[in-house]
């Protein structure tokens, strides 16, 4: 499987990748994107199986990226990893087609719960 990790923070991309490993999902190919626009382009060029995306990013935020992907017809599996875990944000994420929203700070267990059903 190929996972695209989109976050403007290099530190957070590394933490997400490390947590994937800790959650038992370390064997996948990882591709990184620095913002929503980069993510949009890499979904097209890299054809990932899953996108793990931050919400607040420069250039294009995560929810606009998801909207653009769906508008283009992409049905790539998409989940948010964001500091904003309110009910309102979760509702917006679900309405836009996200499978889950992992709120920061997170643990490996949070990743396991969110990803096991998605990655199998």
């Amino acid at each position: 499987m190929k996972i695209l990790v989109a976050d403007d923070s290099k530190v957070m991309r590394q933490i997400v990748i490390r947590t994937l490993r800790q959650a038992g999902h370390g064997g996948h190919d990882i591709v990184e994107a620095e913002n929503g626009r980069d993510c949009l382009e890499k979904v097209s060029s890299e054809q990932p199986d899953l996108v793990l995306s931050d919400w607040n990013m420069p250039e294009m935020n995560g929810i606009d990226c998801l909207g653009a992907l769906r508008a283009q017809g992409s049905q790539v599996k998409f989940g948010f990893v964001t500091s904003e875990g309110s009910d309102e944000m979760r509702s917006r994420a679900a309405a836009a087609g996200a499978l889950f929203l992992i709120a920061k700070p997170f643990t490996a267990e949070t990743f396991t719960e969110a990803l096991d059903g998605v990655l199998g």
Partner: protein, 154 residues
Amino acid sequence: MTLAPEVTDVQAIVEQVWSSFLGEEEPLLPRPAAGGQFAADEAWSAAVSISGGWDATVTVELSGPVALSLTRTMLGLDDADATEDGDVADAVGELVNMVGGNVKSLMPGPSVLSLPAVAAGRAAHPSGAAEIARFDGVWAGEPVRVAVHAIPQP
């Protein structure tokens, strides 16, 4: 009256973020008697603003050694590994993003969270900004401060 997050909630958020990314071996302890300007040599600071249903800024201030430890831990580096300013800015910015995002979730919305602004130096606030919550802590003997300021409305 300005709507403010409970100081205990701010403290709980900071402690949760802290233990998630820095572990619990070295605890972040409250420092209730702290006050005045953030006193640390080579401080780093970062801020995010929340605007919409509730308007405020959330700032984090760290001493230089805390900022470096945070960066190394987040990046999985050893003490001997060099860190660049960009890495520290990334780590400190992510810290305030997490704290700010969680504070935003406690308050009335809908609101928008800004991207973090990071500086090498302590935080300074405009004269009209009123501090409405603050957590002062100490980690490994070094100071840490998280403050919430109401943004003056026109």
